[in-house]
């Protein structure tokens, strides 16, 4: 039944948004993690979202594409393709007194943009809320359906 699919779709969205929130939390927490070498320094992590393509899957299983039944929706929710590290330039500060300073007196700070992360956090929590309300609506619709004929 299609109504149960909505639970899966909204659930996949909530899972993806919570991973996004998780990376944001990690980025903000490590915004000031200093390091003396460019290899060891923390870099901002970003999740890559992609739509779960169901049509491709159903076609592979022998179903006709674009059929009214199972293949109707082009995709079924969202998934995290992977988590990448940002390529943005590292934040180098001249702090010769710092214990982590290298020979030149520079300390490497992560390339985390705290303002950007805060905006990302708000966006993720808003999207999470949207998914919760979608699931709530689906629940109401399903409960309603169970009273049919009563």
């Amino acid at each position: 039944m299609s109504l149960t699919n909505i639970f899966d779709i909204a659930g996949s969205g909530m899972a993806a948004q919570s991973i996004r929130l998780n990376t944001t939390a990690s980025n903000i927490a490590n915004a000031d993690s200093a390091s003396s070498s460019t290899d060891e320094v923390y870099r901002a992590r970003k999740p890559i979202f992609s739509a779960i393509q169901q049509d491709v899957m159903s076609q592979a299983l022998g179903g006709a594409p674009g059929e009214m039944g199972g293949g109707l929706s082009a995709s079924q929710g969202v998934q995290i393709e992977g988590i990448i590290e940002s390529d943005a330039p590292l934040n180098m500060r001249y702090q010769p007194d710092h214990p982590m300073a290298n020979e030149g007196g520079y300390v490497m700070y992560p390339n985390v943009n705290v303002v950007e992360e805060m905006a990302d956090m708000l966006s993720a929590s808003r999207s999470f809320q949207t998914n919760v309300s979608v699931m709530d609506s689906a629940k109401t619709m399903m409960q309603r359906l169970l009273t049919l004929g009563q």
């Binding site: 674009g66 689906a138 619709m141 309603r144």
Partner: protein, 138 residues
């Protein structure tokens, strides 16, 4: 005389089914609001239900049968081109990453669809109640 549910319930059972499918498509749009390159989609409700209605009233007008998915549907009233296909929404504010989901619009459509689902449900429930009354004869 046998009771045919097909005739007794009319369009409402199909309407409820399409509402559920539309809810699924809209939920999928909302979930992919942050997916780069995702294109928002929607079902043309009127076209699908129009197709059902013209199928029901087959007496007046002969419907052209399509045996292959690639056959072009018959033009004219009711059956729009690609009636049971997913269409792409025309974006009002496409974002830089190619995403065309407008969360506000989709939320509004989803809420509207839920209300229309409840309306279809009430009508279908009314049909069942009427049948029940007829059977009991009270």
């Amino acid at each position: 005389m046998a009771i045919s549910f097909e005739n007794a319930l009319g369009i409402h059972q199909k309407a409820l089914e399409v509402r559920v499918q539309r809810a699924e498509v809209l939920a999928n749009n909302l979930v992919n609001a942050d997916t780069p390159g995702f294109k928002a989609r929607d079902i043309d409700f009127k076209a699908i239900l129009g197709g059902v209605q013209s199928g029901q009233q087959a007496g007046g007008q002969l419907a052209m049968s399509t045996t292959n998915g690639k056959h072009l549907p018959q033009g004219g009233n009711g059956s729009a081109v690609g009636s049971n296909e997913l269409l792409y929404r025309v974006p009002s504010q496409p974002s830089l990453d190619g995403n065309t989901v407008d969360t506000q619009q989709e939320t509004a459509e989803f809420t509207k669809n839920t209300m229309q689902y409840q309306a279809s449900f009430q009508l279908l429930n009314g049909k069942f109640k009427a049948l029940n009354n007829a059977i009991r004869g009270e």
